[in-house]
Amino acid sequence: MIAFVSGGARSGKSAQAEALAMRWHRARGGRLYYLATARATDGEMIRRISRHRETRGSGWTTLEEPVDLMAALDQVVPGSTLLLDCLTLWASQVLYGSGLDERQGLAMIDTMLSRARARNIALVVVSNDVNEEVPPRDAEVRRYLAFLQRLHRRVAHEAELAIQVVAGLPMYWKGSGKEGEAQ
């Protein structure tokens, strides 16, 4: 089971994604993981990370991995539920903080999605809607945007559940939110 959750800044994406992951976890058993792609590089990031961690509460096993999603996935017990937060940061770290290019980044996402299914790991992927403003003039920013959107389209295509979050409320593009609960 795969879910894609996206929306604007401070729209309540993480809270929606966490609630969904907890529902899936209750229905499925196994363990509940939080995969943080954020690097605690400065004071602002450290505060954001600790705020997210406090609101999540107990019961979560936190993994931290800025680039190598397979290394993180290998630590997850089969049958568990994993929340990946977020794809936006991961995409920038792939392009600017690793030796990987777009093709390799996309291949990593494909492998993660198929490996999660093969190991019966329910996956919730969080990202940001950043493509509905005046297109950036800067070629490098456009390259990043094009890469991020390829990732979004791929994950949304694979997902059984796709949710756009507006003002903390879910808008269902795919599925109804009941997936994975009655087993």
């Binding site: 493509n131 509905e132 005046v134 297109p135 094009a146 994950v155």
Partner: protein
């Protein structure tokens, strides 16, 4: 007439291709001007018109008055709609959503953003179906 609107790289073209069988494309990205759409019409075959933000930019460069650009675009939309009614090819408009960010610093970007928003509203009034495309998924708007 149908309108597909969504952000940059949202998957708008693929959404059109899923719903229309081998349409003709009249695209500003191929250097086509808006005026030339008439020569792209082929009876019995659907026609996609895309790259409206480039056509707006071309207007911006030579016309300082936003209202005049808006009304010229409205005339064009009406002509396109009239042709569809008369000849029957299904016409698809693809437009870029660009109004959901911070107000641009650059004055030309602000003009473009305003005109693109008005154009989308005007186009929607001429369409019997409007689709919002989000990360490769499409949903009809009322």
């Amino acid at each position: 007439m149908q309108l597909f609107i969504g952000g940059a790289y949202a998957g708008k073209r693929a959404a059109v291709r899923q719903r229309f069988d081998s349409p003709r494309w009249h695209s500003a990205y191929d250097g086509k001007s808006l005026d030339a759409w008439r020569s792209a019409v082929e009876e019995g075959r659907s026609l996609v018109l895309e790259g409206w933000e480039l056509w707006l930019e071309a207007e911006l460069a030579c016309e300082p008055d936003n209202d005049r650009i808006r009304s010229r675009m409205c005339d064009e939309l009406e002509a396109i709609r009239a042709l569809e009614d008369a000849l029957g090819p299904r016409i698809v408009l693809i437009m870029l959503e660009m109004g959901r960010g911070i107000v641009p610093m650059d004055a030309d970007d602000r003009r473009l953003r305003d005109l693109a928003g008005w154009l989308a509203q005007d186009a929607a009034t001429h369409c019997e179906q409007v689709w919002y495309v989000w990360h490769g998924l499409a949903r009809p708007l009322a």
